[in-house]
């Protein structure tokens, strides 16, 4: 495959338009993300519920194209499963090596990690995320935020 820049996605097909959209899940709104995790322990399959938009009698899919995970816990690792249950890694990934931009703590708006070619999430899809503490110290009162970025594909009225 020849090089192509990331985010050089094709335009929406004729009759549709893409609208930037980001899902934000935090340990405030989703307490499951804020649970304490003992060293080596894991919490599996936390559901991240996506929207159920229907417009002009058609479901509106979300094209998941990038991810960002920010956390105050260096020992946190994550594993995502796509809307069809397909795992996106063969094991848990340390957040610092997989979904976090560098220098995150004092900086906002840092880049996200592309989902190279993107994943189409149908109406009402559920993304599953599992958490693991890969350090030897317990994770206590974590603050974790997950951004799922992409576009919603809307039908255009004729």
């Amino acid at each position: 495959m020849r090089y192509r820049p990331q985010y050089a996605y094709p335009k929406a097909p004729r009759g549709y338009k893409d609208q930037d959209f980001a899902y934000y899940f935090s340990s405030v709104g989703n307490p499951a993300l804020g649970q304490n995790i003992a060293a080596g322990a894991l919490i599996t399959n936390i559901p991240l519920q996506l929207d159920r938009d229907i417009y002009l009698d058609e479901p509106v899919p979300f094209l998941w194209r990038a991810t960002k995970v920010l956390t105050n816990q260096t020992g946190l690792a994550v594993q995502f499963a796509g809307p069809d249950g397909t795992l996106l890694s063969n094991d848990f990934e340390a957040v610092g090596l997989s979904y976090a931009p560098g220098g995150a703590s004092p900086i906002v708006g840092l880049s996200s990690v592309p989902n190279e070619r993107g994943i189409e999430c149908p109406l009402g899809a559920v993304i599953l995320v599992s958490l693991k503490n890969i350090s030897s110290a317990g994770i206590v009162s974590p603050v974790t935020e997950i951004f799922l970025m992409g576009v919603k594909r809307w039908k255009v009225a004729a």
């Binding site: 495959m1 063969n90 094991d91 090596l97 976090a100 560098g102 220098g103």
Partner: protein, 293 residues
Amino acid sequence: MTYQERHQDYVWTLPTIPAGQQIVQPFQFDPDAPFVLRSLAARIPYDANGTQTALASVSLRWSGPVQDYRHQSVVPAGLMLGPYFGQYGNPMPVYPEVQFPASGVTWLQVVNGGASPLTGLQVFMRGVKRGRPGQWATYTYPAKMRTIPFSYPFVVSSLAVTDARTNQVFQVQSNGDFVFRAGQAGRVFAPQTYEVFLTLKDSNGYPYSNAPVHVDVLFGQSAGRAAYPVGSAPLLVPPIGPGASAPGLIYPEIYLPQDHILLYDIARNDSAYGGAQAADFPLNFMGSKVIPQ
């Protein structure tokens, strides 16, 4: 296409440069194929504070294949190589690319403007080998397939303070091919590691670099421990911007069919750092899973 490209890193380790002195030295590329230079980086071993302060006193310039220097005088490394000196998987681009013939030579002129000797300075030239079609065994996509973003995180267990392991095996799962496009590596929590080097090799043992490459140069990570000197009375700043969103790229990507392997050597030499201890060393190979249809 009339040629085949293959990811390649050249690592040039310079001899110790006394304070206030300079060296001018040739480096020869491999004889098997021309090398196309596309980016540069430099590093020096971490000091006891976990910084690379000595880089602030380095100025250098490099030449093309006929000793044609690309700068009229040496340039401070921080100006030539940008933030974090091209490390953290983000080497400074060289554009247009510079092609060296097989067994070609580049010249480096390096000045140590500091008050202490420079020991262990390395200059990295990243690009591709441009060989004959079929020169290296490769695989590619099936005619009908789909891809999903996919990562292979794994750890090298209990890497000792001084350790060297050769021909470690990374194997692709049997449920799909894997396209290796980028990587991240390094411990994100204590105990820290300092001097860890990787040599990636194909399944035939043919390396993608002429020498081991420090993981901060090859891949980088988000929770970087390194602080980099800015200015002559250096302000030490952490890397901002690299990490998983801008990982060290493998170009061209390496296509690994299901069940196939990639070899790597890993070495660690942290004996000079107080408090260093054995640790699991994490790596993350990032890319796409390819599922034939």
